[in-house]
């Protein structure tokens, strides 16, 4: 079988600045996102994911002008998440030159938005993202609003509902591994990839590009995304280095 091996750097943005979080907290300032996008272009990365982590809780719309500036420097497929709560917002985001939108908080118990985007822009244009962490019993529980609100619904039923609504891809993000470099949640990625009939993007805990590729081979996920390992040096996780290694 053919592996397409998509390894996707994730850029998290807060108030227009590139940051990196640990377990969705303590954002560390890294620099200018446009500069990082230019470097990732030159490194010929497979795709890019851009997440604005300051919008869901602030109830704000995306900064379209900034999005447009970032997209115009990006000659690789670009997905964007953050603040997309209505179809007309998604439409404006696409107009900025973004290929795919990522929906998380806006699809709690309500997949109407996902269906609307899929109908207007095609299934491939909408990714449903599920952030999760384990509770005290070891069960993985989904969260929204940048990891601050726990959701009662199980992850697998959420995925089925997202698929039925017309999502083109599922992204799963392990909050407790974010920025920790402890390795990916392989067992769960395997379980989700086996269950989903659409491509699955796994995120959280990757050490380097090689580990991402290995995870793709072991789990049948369609893509692995990672933030920390592509913005910090491997031998010094405090030292900033935009890389694709």
């Amino acid at each position: 079988m053919q592996q397409l091996n998509r390894v996707i750097p994730v850029l998290t943005v807060l108030d227009g600045k590139l940051v990196k979080t640990k377990r969705f907290k303590d954002p560390v300032y890294l620099g200018d996102p446009i500069n990082a996008i230019k470097i990732f272009n030159d490194k010929r990365v497979d795709e890019l994911i851009l997440l604005d982590i300051g919008l869901a809780n602030a109830n704000k719309e995306p900064n379209y002008q900034h999005l447009k500036e970032m997209a115009s420097e990006c000659f690789i497929p670009l997905a964007y998440g953050g603040g997309i709560t209505q179809l007309h917002i998604a439409e404006k985001v696409f107009k900025c030159g973004i290929e795919k939108v990522i929906i998380n908080s806006a699809c709690v118990n309500n997949f109407k938005l996902v269906s609307e985007i899929a109908r207007s822009f095609g299934n491939q244009s909408v990714i449903v993202c599920i952030d999760y962490k384990k509770n005290m019993l070891g069960t993985r529980v989904p969260y929204v609003n940048s990891g601050t609100n726990k959701i009662k619904q199980g992850i697998l039923p959420w995925i089925s509902a997202a698929e039925a609504a017309g999502a083109g891809e599922i992204m799963i993000q392990d909050i407790s591994r974010d920025g920790t470099f402890q390795g990916l949640d392989l067992d769960f990625i395997s379980a989700v990839s086996a269950k989903a009939s659409i491509p699955v993007i796994a995120c959280g805990g990757a050490i380097d590009k090689e580990a991402c590729i290995k995870a793709l081979q072991e789990t049948n996920a369609s893509a692995v995304a990672a933030g920390g390992c592509f913005v910090f040096k491997k031998n010094n996780r405090k030292s900033i280095l935009i890389n694709y290694q």
Partner: protein
């Protein structure tokens, strides 16, 4: 003037950004005058085939497009869904296309349970029929794809490149002044940049 057709589907801005990188400016428009006077017409597109044909009809663009492609024989480049529209018929929505290139558009018929639709990601492309757009490259050509349907040329002579996803399929086609690619050169960084360079040279732009 290069005109990128804006018919309400897809991402004309991305195409315009990439072309600007080559030092060439394009206008994004659905204005008939801008189509009429284009020396290259680019038809991008991501989305549903039937919806695209509906949009072209409701925007009253079919006559001018046919005139441009078949009478004036201006170079036309279709990208992704834009390319699929050039063919006679699509299984997506079961409707007729523009019919400029003989052949049909079919859904991927994959037997391996682990292979998912859409075909999404970077795939190597192989030159067919010695097309100058894909021939004699120093390294294998890789482009970004995202599609659930692919074209099947009525005659093999129109295929200019193929790719493999479960099986080999035509990923670029050309008939006279009409060229189409299934992949996204505007989102294929260096490979895409070079594709546009070769294409512009090919049509003597």
């Amino acid at each position: 003037m290069i005109t990128i057709l804006d018919y309400g589907l897809g991402n004309p801005e991305s195409v315009s950004n990439m072309i600007r990188r080559l030092g060439v400016n394009a206008v994004i428009s659905s204005d008939k005058d801008k189509i009429e006077h284009a020396k290259l017409l680019i038809i991008p597109g991501v989305g549903h085939f039937a919806r695209a044909m509906e949009n072209l009809k409701s925007m009253d663009l079919l006559d001018i497009l046919n005139h441009k492609a078949l009478v004036q024989q201006t170079p036309v480049l279709g990208i992704c869904l834009g390319m699929q529209l050039f063919f006679e018929h699509s299984e997506e929505g079961n409707v007729d296309g523009l019919g400029w290139i003989p052949g049909v558009v079919k859904k991927f018929n994959l037997v391996h349970p682990d292979m998912k639709i859409p075909h999404m990601g970077w795939t190597e492309v192989i030159c067919q029929n010695n097309s100058p757009l894909f021939m004699d490259q120093e390294e294998p050509l890789r482009y970004y794809f995202v599609h659930s349907y692919h074209v099947v040329c009525g005659q093999n002579q129109y295929a200019i490149a193929s790719a493999n996803y479960g099986y080999s399929f035509t990923c670029a086609a050309r008939k006279d002044n009409i060229t189409g690619v299934q992949f996204h050169p505007e989102k294929s960084h260096l490979y895409g940049f070079r594709f546009f360079q070769r294409y512009f040279k090919f049509i003597s732009l």
